[in-house]
Amino acid sequence: MFAALACLLAFAPPGRRIAAGLFALTAAFAVAQMPLPRGSIEIVFIGCWASLVATAVTVHFGRRLTGYRPVMLAVNAGAWAGATVAVAGTTLDLAVASPWLALAVPGAWLAATGRGVAVKVVSSWLIAIALLAAVLPLVPTPGYAPDHLD
């Protein structure tokens, strides 16, 4: 999630980028402290993957990241990351994941030097990962499955 957010923030105005990052972290740590019911784990995970997809898709509309949109999207991403930790992780997991936001720095450099397409390509990879991860809980684990040429 933070990697996708970093791709998004690479296209945000510099001032909004830092604020959005701080808001994302604040939202994540705040929501992570909430006593969410353990039974909501599936909903939270699907919501997190959906939010990741939405964040990564928004990267492809980089030029429209004006005003408070980066901050709002960052709060959304942070909240879902925090919710995931609240139901199935610890604050340490959040601390380990947070540095991925730093990818916004090289991403911003790429965007500023006309190579922003590289960031958009990476965001598309994140979309692919999220789609697969979101579908997996819907399929029962069959146990060992032979390779497609076995």
């Binding site: 598309s124 990879w125 990962i129 697969l132 997996l136 684990t141 069959p142 390779d147 040429l149």
Partner: protein, 199 residues
Amino acid sequence: MNALLHRSTQIAGTVALAVAAPVAAHTGTGLAGGFQSGFLHPFGGFDHLLAMVSVGLWGAFLGRPLIVALPVIFPTVMAFGGILGIAGVPLPPVEIGIAVSVLVLGGMIAGAVRAPVWLASLIVAVFAVFHGYAHGTELPSAADPVGYSAGFVLATGMLHVVGIGIGLIADRPGGAAVVRGLGGLVLLAGVWFLRVAVR
């Protein structure tokens, strides 16, 4: 700029050779694990590896916007194919589809085919479904499915970039012939894979 381009193509070629498995069709990976297992999966099969690199190679040859669009389309549609594999949706024989992908992409490069954007995107998307399906059938049994999927998606993307790096050779004197020659080798490999797959 020329020195940088030369250096980048050297690196791309070295990486491609260093990670290529011995010449053999994909022989199976056994029980899938996590990120490392997923990352190594495309490298473990020469058919996967050649197809991924060829997508980048062809994209580099076709230029903008496809040099960017193809590495975006392939992993995204591959995820869709992966979902089909996870769900067990019946598909034509995956091995044949993968072999044909290597054959066709190699042929496109060897023949210097400048397909329109829509056609190139469609061709790559169709083949991405087969490759994704192959990965997807192993996902539910992986020890860490999310890590496994992250691994093979990232590996796929990196192989595209390697292909693009190699494809930039075409901008150098005589480079176009080299690239078409590589395409011819990929085409021959595809013929061999197809022969093995239909036996």
